[in-house]
Symmetry: C2
Subunit: 339 residues, 2 copies
DNA sequence: CTGAAAGCGCTTACAG
DNA sequence: CTGAAAGCGCTTACAG
C-alpha cells in the first residue's frame, strides 16, 4: 500500500541502502545521489515506516504521559507545555489517565513499557504508596520524569514547585490579614505533595507563633468540591471557630465557600479563604478566590526538556535532575480584608 | 534487553512458531504446550514487542486524536470518554492539538499517517475550510471519525449533536422569557458548527415571527472571553437595543456578561443570556449561566464505538455512520425571569 | 561513494 | 500438533 525504500530504490535504480542513507543525510552519499533521492521522495510523498525503523533503532519516539485526572487545569496546562515542546521534535504523546487509582496506574505503566515508549511522564495517583512499578520503568531504561505529585524515595527526574514554601506563603498571607485561627483542609496522608503543603501551613503557624490546633486540620480524601463542602459543614457543626482557611486545592476551597455562602458567613470578613492551583474558575466566582498560581505550561515544557537532557545524561551516567519552578501567591477577594 | 519469543522457545525447547501460536491462542496447539508456554511467559513477565507485531499485521493499535484546543471542557470530556472505552482494549491514544490552525492540523494529520495509526479522531480547526488532508486520511485506509466540529462534504463517520436544533431551543427559551430583540454572537463564517448554531437562531425567530435584524448579529473570530467583551461593547456603543443574547459558546457569554455587569446592566431582567456548551464555570458564576449541555463523555465513547464498528464495516464496504447525540437546555439565573 | 547482507521480533502460510 | 522459512520495512556494519 504505502511506498517503501525499495520502491524508491527501484524507481531510481539504486540500492535501498543508499536510499536510506540519502534520506538520513549520511555523509558517505554523493550530493548528486542525495538530491535525486530527496527530490523523488518529496515528489511521491514518501513516509518512512516508523515501526520498521524502531525495530532497528529501538527508539519508538513515543512518550507516555499518565495524569491522575484529565479535567484538571494544571494538567491541561502541563499537557499543552509538553505538546508545545514536542511539536518541534518527532516525538508523539500517548495519553493515559490513572483516575488517581494505584491499580490503573500500574496497568498503564505496564502497557507503556510493552509499547517500548522512550519515556514516561507521570504525576502519580493520590492512592499510590508503593513504587515498584516506577522502579520497573527505571530498570527497563525508560526515562522517567515525575511532575506535580512526586515521590521522595525514587531517584528520578522531577519537575516540582516548592509546595511547602507556597503553602507557607498562603498561610502567612492569611495571618497578615489578621487571621489567628486558621483551618486547614489538607489532602490525604500519603501523597508527598499533600504532606508538603500541610508542612508549609505548620511552618507558617510556628514562624508567627500561632498555636497549632489539631482539630482545625481536616482531611480531604478526594480533591473535589464535595469534600470541601463536607469538611466545612463539619467545621460549622462542631462549632470550631476559624477566621481563615487554607485548602490543598481550589476545588476544596470552592466547596467550602459554597457552604459558607449558603450559611451567610461573610468571606473574607468572617472567614478568609486561600486555595491552591489557580484554577480558571477562581477569578470568576464571587468573591474571587485567592490562590497559589503554578505555571503548568512551563512545568510541561520543563518536563520535556528534562527528558531530552536525560537522554544525553544516561550516556554520561549523570544523576537525575530535579527542576524547581516558581509559583506565585495571587491575592483576590476571598482573602483581602484591607484595601 | 527484553525477552523475546526466541528466549521462550529456547527455554522450553520448542520452536518460536509454536510459542507465538500458543500465546495467541491458536487452536492448532496442544493444550499441554499452550499451558506450558502461557505459564512460562507469565512467570518471566513476557511483553511481546508491539512494533514487531505491527510490521507483520499492519495494525499499530494506535489512534490519533486531534483537538482544536486542550483547555476546553467539552474536549476534556470527549478525551475521557474515548480513554474510558479504550481502556478495555489494547489501543492507545496519541494526543495532538491544532490550536485551531489549519496548517498545524495538516501537519498533525501527516505525522499520524506516517505513524500508521489505525484511526484518526478529529474535531477540525475553526480555520479549516479545505479538506484535502481529510481525504488523504480516507485514501490511506485509516479510519476517520469526526466529532463536534464537522464537515458536511466529507462522507465519513461523525458524532454530532444537532447544533441547529439546540440553538433553536436556546433562542426559543429567550423568546418564552419575553425577549423580542435577541442579539446573536455567532462564530465565524466557515465552521459548519457555527453555521448550524446561527441557523437555529434564525429558525427560532422565524418560527415565532420575530423580525430578523442583521445588525444584532455579531461575529466572534475566536471562542474567547475577549471576543465576547469586544462584541458586547460594540452593542452598547452602537446603542443597539437588545433584551436577550445567544452566543456560540459559553466563553463568549462570559465575556459579554462581564461587560454588562460592569455597566450595571441587569441580567436577566434587562438582558437575558444563554451560552452554549455547559462549561463547568457556568454554574459557578453569578448569575449562573443558562446554556446547552452536550454530553462530551458520551460523545467520546460513541467516537470510539464508531471506530470499532467502522473496522468491521470497511470489510463489508458499508457506508460511514453519523451518530446524533442528545443535548439539553440548562436554564439558570442568566435567563430565568419568571419564578 | 555504493550495495549486498544481516537482523530487529514478530506472524503465518505451508510442509510434514 | 509442530517447526522451518519467508517476510513486514527499515538501518547499518562491512566489503568493495
Amino acid at each position: 500500500m504505502n511506498l517503501t525504500l525499495k520502491d524508491i530504490a527501484q524507481a531510481l535504480e539504486i540500492s535501498t541502502s543508499t536510499v536510506s542513507k540519502a534520506l538520513k543525510n549520511y555523509k558517505d552519499v554523493s550530493p548528486t545521489t542525495k538530491k535525486k533521492v530527496l527530490d523523488y521522495a518529496e515528489r511521491i510523498g514518501f513516509k518512512p515506516n516508523a515501526q520498521a525503523a524502531f525495530l532497528r533503532t529501538q527508539k519508538t519516539k513515543l512518550i507516555g504521559v499518565i495524569l491522575p485526572k484529565i479535567e484538571h487545569d494544571l494538567y491541561c496546562e502541563v499537557l499543552k507545555g509538553i505538546l508545545n515542546k514536542m511539536s518541534q521534535t518527532d516525538y508523539k504523546l500517548i495519553l493515559l489517565c490513572s483516575e488517581n487509582s494505584f491499580e490503573i496506574e500500574k496497568k498503564h505503566i505496564r502497557e507503556l513499557l510493552q509499547l517500548n515508549v522512550d519515556g514516561i511522564f507521570i504525576s502519580i495517583a493520590l492512592e499510590t504508596n508503593r513504587f515498584d512499578h516506577l522502579k520497573e520503568v527505571q530498570k527497563s531504561n525508560t526515562i522517567l520524569v515525575l511532575f506535580d505529585h512526586y515521590v521522595k524515595i525514587i531517584a528520578t527526574n522531577r519537575v516540582l514547585i516548592e509546595d511547602r514554601k507556597a503553602s507557607f506563603l498562603a498561610t502567612e498571607h492569611l495571618i497578615q490579614q489578621g487571621c489567628q485561627k486558621i483551618g486547614c483542609f489538607r489532602g490525604e496522608l500519603i501523597s508527598q505533595t499533600s504532606i508538603d503543603r500541610f508542612m508549609g501551613y505548620k511552618d507558617a503557624l510556628e514562624y508567627y507563633k500561632i498555636p497549632f490546633q489539631k482539630e482545625l486540620i481536616l482531611i480531604c480524601n478526594e480533591e473535589t468540591i464535595a469534600e470541601g463542602k463536607r469538611n466545612m459543614i463539619e467545621i460549622l457543626e462542631k462549632k470550631l471557630e476559624i477566621d481563615g482557611l487554607v485548602t490543598v486545592t481550589d476545588l476544596i476551597a470552592l466547596g467550602a465557600m459554597d457552604v459558607l455562602k449558603q450559611r451567610r458567613v461573610k468571606i473574607p470578613e468572617e472567614i478568609a479563604v486561600v486555595g491552591f492551583g489557580n484554577w480558571k474558575f477562581t477569578s470568576l466566582i464571587s468573591p474571587s478566590l485567592s490562590t497559589i498560581d503554578q505555571n503548568g505550561f512551563l512545568m510541561g515544557e520543563k518536563v520535556f526538556e528534562l527528558f531530552e537532557k536525560s537522554q544525553e545524561d544516561t550516556l554520561l551516567n549523570e544523576l537525575p535532575n530535579t527542576e524547581i519552578l516558581p509559583f506565585q501567591l495571587v491575592v483576590r477577594g476571598s482573602s483581602c480584608r484591607k484595601k
